[in-house]
């Protein structure tokens, strides 16, 4: 491997972030050039490395403490190479798009500094050679996400969302940190390659700690990939600028949890994988249900992201001991393309409508914003799993996996979620882009400038074609599995139907059913007919099943109350009661004893005599 290029991939965005912070905080154009230039350099270097098929490790010593030696290294293998391309490729499109979307914002240099910092951190996760280094970047990703969600910090909603995201992540991260410490205390190393080798050589070295470690590491993924029950932060994170939502909260950072699970797949044993599969499946279902009744265009996409992340996590779990999680990474990759596309297109809509995000105030946008509409439609079709879009192939591998593992409950769940997905996505498309305009806003809409539309088109290409690029075979190589390539694109297209027809047809028909339902309900709708049909459950879904309220109440009941009680105890019982009490006892004793000092000679004489008597009695009586 070419160590120089690998370091360049990692350090170019870091350099840009530093340069912008130090020199360009008042010069937007310079800041944008540095940031976009850095990510393009990283992308180019990644491409070169990928073409060369470079693999290997390079490292410098980072911590050299007695008993704990940790390197700071970079690791290239099929997994990290492909992930590098995803991060830098999608990242490049989004950086360029940002230059149009954020133009004129007074905080633009700060924005680009944050974006570059994020890219650096994310690439650090991808390239890390050991768990501690990975954890450092893992947290750094959290901070850059915090800074970018809270970018418009003068809006209280944005500031609160940033804090919520950070703290929710932190809850998961401490499970992860405990997992790391557990791995270290049992196996004595943190290096990924050494760990993997050690476990392969002597699986029983693990013992009973295996499940615990697997689940603790999974805690980190639950936080970062917003799986149930820590899913609440992601929809709120949409308060950040839309390109940030596209890059961080759709394509890359939230996928880091899935990447982590695939990276540490060798740590996960059968019971842990079962938990992971069910967590993913439930998240997919829950998020798809919640998406049905959202009206904010970005929030619908956020819930669909949650749902797709649930698919990926479920795929990791379904891979089973002895299998490999290439399907999860495959879906991660195609999802990064089409979800970034969807968010950027949604951003173009929001931009055109002057920050209107309610789909019930849109309508008829297809004619006004043709490029946006067609690319958004491509993203939607990919998300719904319509052939030949990329999403069809990757989702099919997941359903096939469930079929092959004979996990019919999760297969049914996956198929059901596919139907829901098609329903809510076409609800969005039909309401926002077709039908009558539902407010004044769409009348004045104009297509975005090329700096924004070109990235849309660029992302539409892999959205359509990535299913034919053999990405799944690339990931399978990581786990030592070679799958035969289908010959010709037509053969490739029909291969899923021949290989596992139940999965392929099930997914496809479910999506079709969802589409038909959406078409019937929303083709001409000016207001949502679903609440009338469903009644109270629709309201529950709109209110997100009250998870946020539940957590707020829980936190208020436990943490805040506890904090207040402890503070009160500290103030009144310890400080006032015990400490002042002790002082008070001494003071009181002093006051009492003062009465003895009367200055009266007879009293003193009496006390002296009494004392002498007591003393005599004590010595003589014993």
């Amino acid at each position: 491997m070419n160590a120089f290029l690998t370091w360049l991939v990692l350090l170019a965005p870091a350099g840009a972030a530093v340069v912008i912070t130090l020199t360009a905080l008042r010069r937007p154009a310079t800041a944008a050039r540095w940031s976009i230039g850095a990510i393009l350099v990283a992308f180019a270097a990644s491409l070169v490395l990928f073409r060369a098929g470079a693999t290997g490790e390079t490292a410098v010593v980072w911590l050299d403490l007695p008993g704990l030696r940790v390197d700071f290294g970079l690791r290239l293998d099929p997994l990290s190479l492909l992930m590098l391309l995803v991060v830098t490729g999608v990242g490049s499109a989004i950086h360029i798009y940002s230059w149009g979307y954020m133009r004129g914002d007074p905080g633009l240099p700060r924005y680009f500094a944050g974006l570059s910092l994020f890219s650096f951190a994310m690439l650090g996760i991808v390239l890390a050679t050991n768990l501690l280094q990975l954890f450092v970047f893992w947290e750094l990703v959290g901070v850059s996400s915090y800074l970018l969600i809270g970018f418009w910090y003068e809006r209280p909603a944005a500031a609160d969302a940033a804090k919520k995201a950070f703290l929710t992540n932190r809850v998961g991260d401490f499970g992860f940190l405990l997992g790391i410490i557990l791995v270290w205390s049992v196996l004595g190393t943190l290096n990924l390659a050494e760990l993997s080798a050690k476990l392969r050589a002597a699986p029983p070295a693990w013992g009973a700690a295996a499940t615990a470690a697997g689940l603790l590491v999974f805690c980190g993924a639950v936080g970062k990939s917003a799986q149930f029950p820590l899913h609440v932060w992601l929809p709120d994170a949409m308060e950040g600028p839309t390109p940030v939502s596209a890059l961080i909260h759709a394509a890359t950072m939230v996928a880091a949890g899935v990447y982590l699970l695939c990276r540490l797949f060798f740590l996960l044993n059968a019971p842990a994988l079962e938990v992971i599969a069910w967590t993913g499946g439930l998240t997919a279902l829950l998020a798809a249900l919640l998406a049905l009744q959202q009206n904010d265009i970005k929030r619908i996409l956020a819930y669909s992201t949650l749902s797709q992340l649930g698919y990926m996590v479920m795929a990791v779990g379904l891979s089973g001991a002895g299998g490999h999680p290439a399907p999860a990474m495959y879906h991660l990759t195609t999802h990064a393309f089409f979800k970034a596309l969807l968010f950027l297109a949604a951003g173009a809509v929001i931009h055109a409508l002057h920050h209107e995000q309610d789909i019930w105030k849109m309508g008829g946008l297809a004619r006004k914003l043709p490029v946006t509409f067609w690319t958004f439609l491509a993203g939607t079709l990919a998300l719904c799993g319509a052939p030949p879009f990329s999403g069809f192939f990757s989702k099919d591998t997941i359903l096939t996996l469930a079929w092959e593992r004979e996990h019919y409950a999760l297969l049914a769940l996956g198929v059901g979620v596919a139907a829901l997905t098609a329903f809510y996505m076409f609800r969005l498309v039909l309401v926002a882009f077709t039908g009558p305009a539902k407010s004044q806003a769409p009348d004045h809409a104009h297509e975005a400038p090329p700096v924004m539309t070109v990235p849309l088109v660029a992302l539409a290409v892999p959205t359509l074609l990535a299913g034919f690029w053999g990405i799944d075979r690339g990931y399978a190589r990581q786990y030592g599995a070679e799958a035969a390539a289908a010959h010709g694109w037509a053969a490739h297209l029909f291969e899923p139907f021949a290989h596992a027809p139940m999965a392929a047809w099930g997914g496809l028909l479910a999506a079709a059913a969802g589409f038909v339902a959406a078409w019937t309900l929303y083709r001409r709708a000016v207001s949502d007919p679903l609440p009338g049909l469903l009644g109270a459950p629709a309201r529950w879904l709109r209110d997100r099943l009250y998870f946020d309220e539940l957590y707020a109440a829980l936190i208020a009941a436990t943490q805040d109350l506890l904090a207040r009680v402890v503070a009160a105890v500290d103030r009144w019982v310890l400080a006032a009661g015990l400490v002042r009490g002790t002082a008070g006892v001494f003071e009181l004793t002093g006051r009492l004893l003062r009465h003895v000092h009367t200055g009266n000679l007879q009293t003193y004489a009496l006390l002296l005599a009494a004392g002498a008597v007591v003393l005599l009695w004590w010595t003589l009586a014993r």
């Binding site: 008993g67 901070v143 940033a162 205390s185 506890l562």
Partner: protein, 501 residues
């Protein structure tokens, strides 16, 4: 041992200890405040520079005491003037002499009355603190230990806030009460072992019951200093009222006296009692971590918030110590240093804010960060460090302390984790309010950002945050051998006698 050009017997430690005192004498005769400030700054910097030869000449490969000076002091009583440093005391000496110039800088504008007396107080404190870390004779140790009290109480009581006298008195009586037990333990040890020499007392096999009594006396004295829950109530009062420099010294150095006492005295002198009682102390440390975090979450006064966070952070240090594992104790020592750097910096930050806004209320400070971006940047980094963010100094310390707890007992480690999440919660709450805050506050218009002096005060600490965070190896190697030796003395190789309750 000694750098070339000087005799090996050059009394480096005595120079370190007494040169601040000599500088204080000069301060007493200086007339102008400006001269007093510059002279004190120069003196503290010179002392810091004088520590460099000690660092260079120090051999980290051996756990033995180095730069030893040993002279008869009061022969009829068998008292000797014995000084020496090993890795543990060296890093704390470095912390002390390093933090003092920053204290002087932080007091530059903050202290306007009785400047001369204030600077004398700082310098006398320095003598006493360095003395504690270097003393190897028990009576000398106690002498320096008590000598810290008076200048500190004066710093709070004369230059403090509205309730300064109450806070100073509380601080004085509280710690004095602890010292009484220390004195009792010292006398008891002398009667039992017949020596004042710390080195001779270590490894002396004392009966278990006696050890337990001595350990408990030590514990009361040191637990008040650390402070461990429930002996911490003097801390918020003292911190809130103390001037910035007083808070910094208190947080950075004085709190370390307690943990240093545990490491220097409790563990090696009463090893059996330590092993017997360690599980209870671990749980008490966990209680401090969680308790400090929860209390900090409920505070609306910035200084109180940081003060209670200290309780939690020092809980990690005591937790690490009483896991009696290598990782735990190394983590504890790192945590002591890191807490000195980070919490000291946070107190300086709060002081800078106070100089500008004349309030420490979180609500009144909300949103000031927009006016003072440079300050907000520093504040943000120190807040991240305080929540043990990876890549900053505190992370490595807490990681090692937790790793030690893991090896010691799983329930203890699991119970300590909520404290780490709490740290993120209260620090983020503070940072968010101060840096971002709510709507524009009209009081904040015209608030100036940091000037060069203030940047210079914070910049060295910022450098240390990242240097230790990214490259802790050199620092840890300084005390690794001493920790190893300490573990042998405590015989922690044997499993703890009692299981966790």
């Amino acid at each position: 041992m000694s750098p070339p050009g000087l005799p090996a017997s050059f009394p480096w430690l005595s120079v370190l200890i007494f040169s601040p005192l000599a500088a204080a004498v000069v301060v007493a005769v200086l007339r102008r405040e400006r001269a007093v400030r510059w002279w004190t700054l120069a003196a503290t910097l010179a002392v810091a520079a004088a520590a460099v030869p000690v660092l260079v000449g120090f051999d980290p490969g051996t756990p033995a005491f180095q730069f030893v000076e040993d002279r008869p002091w009061i022969p009829p009583l068998g008292l000797r003037y014995t000084l020496g440093v090993d890795g543990l005391s060296l890093v704390l000496v470095l912390l002390t002499v390093g933090i003092l110039p920053l204290c002087v800088l932080a007091s530059w504008r903050y202290i306007t009355t009785r400047v001369r007396e204030f600077m004398i107080g700082l310098l006398v404190m320095e003598t006493a603190m360095v003395g504690v870390f270097c003393a190897l004779d028990f009576v000398l140790f106690f002498l320096f230990w008590e000598a810290m009290l008076i200048p500190m109480a004066l710093l709070i009581g004369v230059w403090g806030g509205p309730r300064k006298v109450y806070a100073a008195l509380k601080f004085f009586i509280y710690t004095m009460a602890g010292s009484v037990f220390l004195l009792a333990a010292i006398i008891a040890l002398y009667r039992q072992a017949g020596t004042w020499d710390l080195r001779a007392l270590m490894g002396r096999e004392l009966p278990l019951a006696f050890q337990v009594w001595v350990f408990l006396a030590f514990f009361l004295s040191f637990a008040i200093k650390v402070p461990m829950v429930p002996f911490h109530t003097w801390l918020p009062a003292a911190h809130v009222e103390a001037p910035t420099a007083g808070s910094v010294i208190l947080a950075s150095v004085l709190l370390k006296m307690g943990t240093y006492g545990f490491l220097r005295l409790s563990l090696p002198i009463t090893p059996d009692a330590t092993r017997l009682l360690a599980p209870h102390l671990c749980w008490l440390s966990v209680a401090a971590i969680v308790y400090g975090g929860l209390t900090a979450l409920a505070q609306s006064d910035l200084k109180k918030l940081v003060a209670y966070s200290s309780v939690g952070h020092m809980g990690f240090a005591t937790l690490g110590i009483f896991t009696l594992t290598r990782a735990g104790i190394e983590g504890a020592v790192l945590q002591m240093i890191n807490h000195g750097i980070t919490t000291g910096a946070l107190f300086i930050c709060v002081g800078l804010l106070y100089e500008r806004l004349h309030t420490r209320e979180l609500a009144a400070a909300a949103g000031v960060g927009r006016q003072v971006p440079v300050f907000a940047g520093f504040f943000g980094v120190f807040a991240l460090s305080s929540m043990a963010f990876p890549g900053t100094n505190s992370f490595i310390g807490e990681f090692l302390a937790l790793a030690g707890a893991f090896q010691f007992s799983l329930p203890v480690a699991l119970a300590a984790v909520p404290g780490v999440v709490l740290a993120a919660a209260y620090m983020l709450r503070m940072l968010q309010r101060v840096a971002y805050g709510g709507p524009q506050n009209p009081d904040h218009t015209g608030v100036g950002d940091l000037n060069l002096r203030e940047v210079l005060t914070l910049a060295p600490l910022l450098g240390l945050v990242f240097w230790i965070g990214l490259q802790p190896g050199p620092l840890v190697r300084l005390f690794a051998a001493s920790v190893g030796h300490l573990l042998e003395q405590t015989a922690a190789g044997a499993p703890p006698l009692a299981a966790a309750p």
